[in-house]
Symmetry: C2
Subunit: 208 residues, 2 copies
């Protein structure tokens, strides 16, 4: 099965759109509706679904509840995903307190930091010393982590948690890291996102 | 000139890699070096540069300082970029305190919120009532904003700031917004990024 990151991102967007449509009372949906709600084309929707063996009914479209069930299963949302955060600075702390993850079945179970002043075992999300990360990851079978440490600490923190069993990392440190064998690193680079926006705003102003 | 988002993201990455190489004492660089440091190919590097009329010397490669000057000019980094943050919740507040932007020539100049309890005019980054945003944007000629408000408030906040002159928005609200005419919205969807990671980690585990 060949899938790429963009295809899976679109599945997430279809899923989110379906929940919104369901909240509006929709029971069925057509590929055109889904395309409209995520800004794509109906043929792209059908192609994405066909990769996963999901087919609609030409006349009736898709049943939202059964489509959601399939998408949630594909996206691993049929079980709670436990995630840890490495780095309890501004961004890391905000992510630990962020309530948007819970409704997506994602639970931040612990934070880790090297700064003793940041350790707080009685926090709703406990913040533990980084040297306890290995044992925690193993005993709780965590596979996903968010890395929010300064750039100079990022590669060593990544190596440490991957050696302990982490398989997927969302990296907020503003540099590209070398993923250890068998693990995946996705990057969220806020500086680059802003730079990108600035570029296109400048281009639009120059061509006016 | 045809450019897409990915091309500009690569320019940002080349620029960041060049600073790191420069810090290591490099004066010249070859397209192979740049390709290695961002995980691409040398021909992609040359193609990206040629779009902007940047050419190297076959034997000597590129002079890092002049290459940086050109990239910084293209990316609008030759002037300080003033950015505001709408929404002073966990994520918004973390972004206001985040120090990584300053070294990129990006300055968060103000935050806005509708909650009177969050207003703080003496903060290093002042947090002002949202109904002052329009006047602030106009008098300070701000064009870029970060939107970090709950999803139900996102579209109306977006419409408000764009009507006041904002041209580019980095949206953290977990839904896709309709960009008003003449403005650009880039989305950073943390839930979708995590879902994506979970999917590929699951696929890797199943195919072992």
């Amino acid at each position: 099965m060949i899938t790429n990151k963009n295809c899976i991102i679109r599945l997430s967007r279809y899923k989110n759109a379906l929940y919104r449509l369901q909240a509006l009372g929709f029971v069925k949906v057509f590929s055109d509706n889904l395309a409209d709600s995520v800004g794509g084309t109906a043929s792209q929707v059908r192609k994405d679904f066909s990769i996963f063996g999901i087919s609609g009914n030409k006349k009736g479209g898709y049943q939202i509840d059964s489509l959601l069930e399939k998408l949630n299963s594909i996206l691993g949302k049929d079980q709670l995903q436990k995630v840890l955060v490495v780095g309890a600075g501004h961004i890391g702390s905000a992510l630990m307190r962020y309530r948007g993850f819970e409704k997506e079945g994602i639970k931040i179970v612990a934070g880790f930091d090297i700064d003793p002043a940041k350790i707080n075992r009685s926090n709703p999300v406990p913040i533990l010393p980084l040297d306890e990360a290995k044992a925690f990851i193993k005993s709780n079978q965590i596979r996903i982590a968010i890395l929010a440490v300064p750039d100079i600490a990022a590669q060593s923190a990544l190596d440490l948690i991957c050696a302990a069993g982490i398989k997927g990392v969302l990296n907020f440190a503003p540099l590209r890291l070398k993923a250890p064998d068998g693990s995946i690193v996705n990057n969220v680079n806020l500086e680059i996102e802003l730079e990108n926006l600035i570029y296109f705003v400048n281009v639009a102003e120059k061509t006016k």
